[in-house]
């Protein structure tokens, strides 16, 4: 569903993403992890067609995101870490707007169901300014799912959600995957990645450090089978070979 080949993004002299290649099949949930500045958001933005790659190809649903951007973008949804909404459009107007952009003829039924699922029905006529952080996130999700995307990218999907919201978000991601969507989740929350991702892609300084199922990646960075958690694996994969920071004596 998503095929990335030699993806490179340069900002002047700085290489944000370096020769990244991977592919995702329908129904797969891929966790994109890495320390700050690893190139996760830049990668997602290139995959979503928001920024053009300097080199390499990104194929989404069989369409090149650079050459056939429109067809590729029809297949995907991208959820940013901060819900990005138009301040002067109400919840329902957002859905109406997105429906026209993606030509969703039956948007009223789909939209009503989504609002019901996301518990936003009674906020139909509210402006984003009247919504809590979590509700804004839900509205962004409703907008993104309205056209039933086949490829979904999440950038830190759990930011600002309460425990109920987190539970619902995880269920929603897994449901979409079961329905055949290819999903990429970029997150620093390793327990989330471990819980819902079927594959792991670790980036560091724009380069791919590891790519495989949880078991494969764990095996690659374990000293003995089953000796480490994902957190431990992450540190082994991404940290420089230097001594860990020494804590002050009183905090030890």
């Amino acid at each position: 569903m998503v095929q990335v080949e030699g993806l490179t993004k340069l900002y002047g002299e700085f290489t944000a993403v370096n020769e990244l290649s991977f592919s995702i099949q329908p129904g797969e949930v891929v966790g994109l992890v890495g320390p700050n500045g690893a190139g996760k958001t830049t990668t997602l933005r290139c995959l979503a067609g928001i920024i053009p790659p300097t080199r390499g190809t990104v194929i989404v649903g069989g369409h090149d995101i650079t050459r056939a951007a429109i067809d590729a973008k029809r297949q995907l949804a991208f959820f940013t870490d901060e819900p990005r909404l138009f301040d002067y459009l109400t919840v329902w107007q957002h859905l109406n707007f997105v429906a026209r952009i993606y030509q969703v003829a039956d948007y009223e039924n789909i939209g009503a169901t989504l609002l019901e699922e996301l518990e936003l029905t009674n906020k139909k006529d509210a402006l984003p300014g009247e919504l809590s952080r979590g509700m804004k996130q839900k509205l962004a999700i409703a907008c993104g799912l309205l056209h039933s995307p086949k490829v979904i990218y999440f950038d830190e999907p759990l930011t600002g959600l309460d425990p109920y919201g987190i539970r619902r978000m995880k269920d929603s991601i897994l449901k979409r995957a079961r329905d055949g969507a290819a999903i990429i989740i970029s997150s620093h929350l390793l327990h989330l990645v471990q819980e819902i991702c079927s594959r792991l892609l670790i980036l560091k300084n724009g380069r791919k450090i590891a790519d495989g199922t949880m078991a494969e990646v764990t095996q690659k960075f374990s000293e003995s089978p089953g000796d480490a958690s994902l957190e431990e694996i992450f540190f082994r994969a991404t940290s420089d070979p230097v001594a860990p920071p020494v804590l002050p004596a009183e905090t030890k």
């Binding site: 933005r45 429109i70 990005r84 138009f86 002067y88 109406n96 026209r100 006529d125 509210a126």
Partner: protein, 581 residues
């Protein structure tokens, strides 16, 4: 403890200045700073370095008549009185010293006394006051007087007012704490001011003779009479403290200034003691105010002026948006909602009815040809202004949506479609206003002299088709600029302020005019190519709409090419670089 607060203030200011100087290494700031510096020099500063001419004014700048100067001090005192009364009358909130969120987070939980926080606030407000005093001096200096006296005078007035506002807010809070509601306070203040005003009026009625024809015969006589009322009896006593505050500013020389300074400083000191020794809990209201301020600043810095507005309300869509059809319409629909209720369909209908009524109402009055000619000139001027100012004021396009560029880029639309959709809303609104003005103009035609009727009719007819295309072109320029130079135009993060920003705006205004002139050349040539050959056979009037149509076609082609180009700019627009800048 107070030294730590001074340290914070000193280093914050210093670092801010250093950052601003450092960024002059970037051409966009350097060019802006040079252009802004030249503007400020030629418009303000050069007067500071020029000799004083006759009448105390500078060469080339008219002096204030001496008789008027005598009246200025009592009037200034009166204005100050009104400001102070309003400060006691209008506000309703509890005292809230505005701190930034960082200051609230660091200082409020820290062992810093309330008095020290007030001192910190006072010191910080001095920066704003000094800057305001400098600007006001630059203005007031242009009508004559000594620079030093003006600067110190302004500083004293602003500082005393600042202390008074603070003291009044503390007093208001104390009254609220003691159960005196805002309305009761307002009633008391109104009663006091009303009784004083009535007393002065009664006194004036009995002792000052009513103005005679001689008193209003000339400007000087009128000024003398007003001076007589303001400088005698209880009015003088009522205004006395305010006279003390403004007197140093109006001092003609250093000796008079020093003489006036002592009582003004004493008043300043009394205000300071009042503020510092008022023990009022302002922390809770300050926390709330700082949060609101931070939210507004964040919204403005993100270029989102809509969100920065208070009490935003949901607005009805201008038309029903079907889920299928050209996606460009969705952007037009969205941005028209952003225009708000002020330009609702209902308002358009009301405006049309008003215009029609006005035209009908002109009927008799407009039989006077002078009136109709004047109205026609006003309409033509308004149309001109709408072309010049409209594209600057209506920013419902990329200038508003650029912070959402990453979302727009995920839409399955081509660049030109997004560009077209973004520009259509301001064009629609602007063209609507212009057509309304033209409608009014057409109504007036019937009352104009016969020889002008036909000419004005064809010019109006030409404007009907020319204006929307011109609007479109004029809107393309700032939109292209915002995509090509986002950090120059966009009110994004770290957007420049001060001299650099003024300079950048000047540079862009000149650039826009040049681009527009270039775009008009082919249209003007097309106009001429149609007009002059037809003029030989048909006379000067008939060819005008045909020539205008040719010019419109050329402009439309340019607009279409412009949208394609704008779309390409948007496709190439790197949201990451824009955010980083």
């Amino acid at each position: 403890m107070i030294t730590a607060l001074f340290y914070l203030q000193y280093h914050s200011t210093r670092n801010r200045l250093v950052t601003r100087f450092k960024r002059l290494q970037q051409p966009k700031y350097l060019i802006g700073a040079i252009a802004g510096g030249l503007y400020f020099y030629f418009y303000f500063f050069r007067y500071l370095f020029q000799g004083v001419g006759r009448g105390g004014a500078h060469a080339g700048v008219p002096a204030v008549p001496p008789e008027l100067l005598q009246l200025v001090e009592p009037v200034a005192a009166l204005v100050l009185l009104v400001i102070v009364v309003l400060a006691w009358l209008i506000p309703h909130a509890r005292a809230a010293l505005t701190f930034t969120e960082a200051e609230v987070a660091f200082l409020f939980p820290a062992p810093v006394s309330r008095r020290n926080l007030v001192h910190f606030k006072l010191v910080r407000s001095q920066l704003r006051i000094l800057f305001s005093a400098l600007l006001l001096t630059l203005f007031s200096r242009r009508v004559g007087g000594n620079v030093g006296i003006h600067a110190l005078g302004w500083w004293l007035i602003l500082s005393t007012l600042n202390l008074h506002f603070l003291g009044a807010s503390f007093a208001r809070t104390l009254l609220l704490d003691r159960g005196v509601s805002n309305w009761l306070r307002r009633l008391l203040v109104l009663a006091l001011v009303g009784s004083l005003a009535a007393f002065v009026w009664l006194w004036a009625k009995q002792t000052v003779p009513a103005p005679t024809a001689a008193d209003t015969a000339s400007f000087t006589a009128l000024v003398n009479y007003a001076q007589q009322v303001l400088n005698a009896g209880p009015a003088l006593y009522l205004l006395y403290p305010f006279h003390l505050v403004v007197r140093p500013f109006f001092a003609p020389d250093a000796a008079a200034f020093l003489l006036a300074l002592a009582p003004a400083l004493l008043l300043f000191l009394l205000h300071y003691l009042w503020v510092v020794f008022s023990d009022v809990a302002f922390e809770e209201a300050s926390v709330e105010a700082s949060q609101k301020l931070a939210a507004r600043v964040a919204a403005v810095r993100a270029g989102n002026w809509q969100a920065a507005k208070k009490n935003q309300k949901a607005k009805r869509a201008w038309f029903q948006l079907a889920p299928t059809g050209p996606p460009v319409t969705a952007l037009l629909w969205k941005n028209l909602i952003g225009v708000g209720q002020i330009f609702s369909a209902r308002l358009w209908i009301i405006l049309v009815v008003v215009v029609v009524a006005l035209v009908a109402g002109f009927g008799n009055a407009a039989r006077s040809q002078n009136f109709s000619m004047l109205a026609a000139i006003i309409i033509a001027s308004l149309l001109g202004y709408s072309l010049l100012l409209g594209p600057q004021l209506l920013r419902l396009d990329f200038r508003q949506d650029l912070p959402m560029a990453d979302i727009l880029k995920t839409f399955p639309l081509r660049g030109w479609q997004i560009a077209l959709g973004e520009i259509l809303a301001p064009v629609t609104v602007l063209a609507g206003v212009q057509w309304l003005l033209l409608l009014l103009g057409f109504g007036l035609i019937f009352f104009l002299p016969g020889k002008h009727q036909a000419l004005i009719f064809v010019i109006g007819l030409s404007a009907v088709c020319l204006l929307p295309v011109l609007d479109f072109l004029l809107l393309l320029i700032p939109n292209a600029a915002v995509l090509l130079f986002p950090s120059w135009i966009q009110a994004g993060k770290d957007s420049p302020r001060g001299i650099e920003a003024t300079g950048q705006r000047l540079v862009f205004a000149v650039g826009q005019m040049l681009v527009l002139l270039l775009a008009l050349i082919p249209a003007a040539l097309a106009f001429a190519a149609v007009y002059f050959p037809m003029k030989w056979g048909l006379g000067p009037i008939v060819p005008v709409p045909f020539a205008a149509l040719a010019a419109t076609l050329i402009l439309a082609v340019e607009a279409a090419l412009g949208v394609r180009l704008l779309g390409r700019f948007f496709e190439r627009f790197d949201v990451t670089e824009a955010t980083a800048s």
